[in-house]
Symmetry: C2
Subunit: 412 residues, 2 copies
Amino acid sequence: MRLSKTFVKTLREAPKDETARNGALLVRAGYVHKEMAGVYDYLPLGMRVIEKIKNIIREELNKIGCQEVLLSTLQNPEPWEKTGRFDDQEVDIWFKTELASGGILGLAPTHEEPMTNLLKTYISSYKDLPLYVYQFQTKFRNELRAKSGILRGREFLMKDLYSFHTSEEDLDKFYEEVEKAYDRIYARVGLGDCTFKTFASGGIFSKYSHEYQTILPVGEDTIYYNSDKSLVFNKEVFNDEVLKEFGVSKEDFEETTAAEVGNIFKLKFKYSEPLGLRYIDEENKPQTVYMGCYGIGVSRLMGVIAEKFADDKGLCLPESVAPYKICLVGIGENGVKKAEEIYQGNEETILFDDRDKRPGEKFADSELIGLPFRVVVSDKTLDEDAVEITERKTGETRKISFEELSRIVEGR
Amino acid sequence: MRLSKTFVKTLREAPKDETARNGALLVRAGYVHKEMAGVYDYLPLGMRVIEKIKNIIREELNKIGCQEVLLSTLQNPEPWEKTGRFDDQEVDIWFKTELASGGILGLAPTHEEPMTNLLKTYISSYKDLPLYVYQFQTKFRNELRAKSGILRGREFLMKDLYSFHTSEEDLDKFYEEVEKAYDRIYARVGLGDCTFKTFASGGIFSKYSHEYQTILPVGEDTIYYNSDKSLVFNKEVFNDEVLKEFGVSKEDFEETTAAEVGNIFKLKFKYSEPLGLRYIDEENKPQTVYMGCYGIGVSRLMGVIAEKFADDKGLCLPESVAPYKICLVGIGENGVKKAEEIYQGNEETILFDDRDKRPGEKFADSELIGLPFRVVVSDKTLDEDAVEITERKTGETRKISFEELSRIVEGR
């Protein structure tokens, strides 16, 4: 992509009301645009990050046999009334709206009820199970405050997966598969070594649920972890009773703030029972379907990645989710000409800064945008038949040959 | 994809309130699920059709230099109040909702105002123009009635493109580029020979807009076309004054019903003026930006394609948008074994009906699902070292070798 042809303009200043670092940097670097607190537009660079994260999640879920669907935003109250969750006293973040032809609708804050309800049409026999269904859907939550950039949105993108089983054993087995898939997802987006499965409070049918928490100074959660981080608790379950159950003592744990980047939950009959999702077993008897649900906030994940790897110069995105691999700058007539040549045919890998600006400004912008590498071509480098490459993460600069550059561009 | 592993089940009956053929067939064939009138969920087969249509549109728009973004659904009234369009008297299909922290928000029925407003941050000089920005976004329209299946949704997927220019000539030039791109899009999705650019009513700044109308018995529009369909008018502008302007007479035109599958509009200053979208020209003077907008209803297009090519057995989708190319059925132990072999490695092209059902039922379902080809392997075909292939469109059946089947699967 040519920087001159995008409408992305790095901004000197973030909006005044943008207090979160991820929001401020993503706005300044032209990834997102703020519509109002908790509501953002995704510009071309931001779109590419979202799509890269989605594809990583999609690949890992398809590998374990999940199928993609897309459920509606507009919600008929009926299935929600069966679980009591249409009530604003019960769920206090609903956006509701009125249908011109009469009646109240909700904007889906999550999709357990419609998904369970939908599956009633398609599950009838034990032969139809197990079944794993997911979507990437915009969720709407009427938060009173939304000051965390894209970490907590009123409108945000979520991946939600639901699984359907004939037995608790089968649910347990798949739950473990999802744990492994989640580990692979967090590793691939660059958060592997700072993201931990965390015990959190359960519900009617399970003592605990699991969250995936990324250690982050501005995270909204408090977690406690042991020395090798094999045991991590959310503050809400970090009490004497739980510690006793796990046979560990308080002193072995350290406290830190963290951001939740995923959660997995054994729902069992929580939704299938009130909504009547049943199947006929091998003895021809009706049985209630076991369910699990598994979420990852996609836009929040982008925010956490932005926040986690930023420094005082700007963003610093891992290659797997960066919109492009290389920011290319040509200096002087010959440098620009050679840069044009390098750019040709590599539009998906290179963000070519072909703007009519001073090199210093281009360098500062390339650090703000935070692609993994910056490549500079100038008379000076051309004299040595080379380009200068700088790694954003380390700031390390070295000269490499055109051949080595080709290898880097092509990912060989 | 294995049919047994999807939760798609062809249904004997469509929902009672589903009166539109496209809706009834798409529900019965497991492409979509109806949540309420005008609100549908997309199941795995339907998701694939939507994605294929989106990719065709994306490719053609990217070719002419357009950039993809994603704007929010939740709408701050402010920019809409500047054009008068937040008023329910002016735009009568708003869904509105209340923010917990106070204030009314709208759910975007279209995005001219937020897009124009957004661009104020990024357009300042003539050097920033022209600019072409599009998105695939779910739109919300509070229709009193919604009885046309996915042809008219209360929640539906739309591609909307907006262009920004320094002059009317530049707008005219790009408008023509979009016309050509639209022709390519309709041709690629299989509607090329029944979709026509149609004169429709304009607005403040243009005498006419253009719609793309597909001839369709259940279409909601009435159009008039001349013998070679080089001149097509929407009923709303088919009057003596217009006919005189074009130098043609009423008798040369035939009437038909049609469904609108796209529209293009020279907005000029309609939104840029009230919203103050200006740029500084080469003489350092502020000027108002010229705008155009260009829509295609993606889910409606899927409905039109479904409706257009259906017959009494079911759907009949063009290869470019069909979720898979081939429905594969094995009969008998050897047939099933060989079908398994054929399926391996071709999961993206073949929908393998591996269900425990009678061949007759599988054949009927394959016709309902409407993929371009059905392939049958049985003892009978194996005796001849062949498979039987049936074209859905013509019903023509012939025996082909495994080698020829490979060629068809691989699209060689």
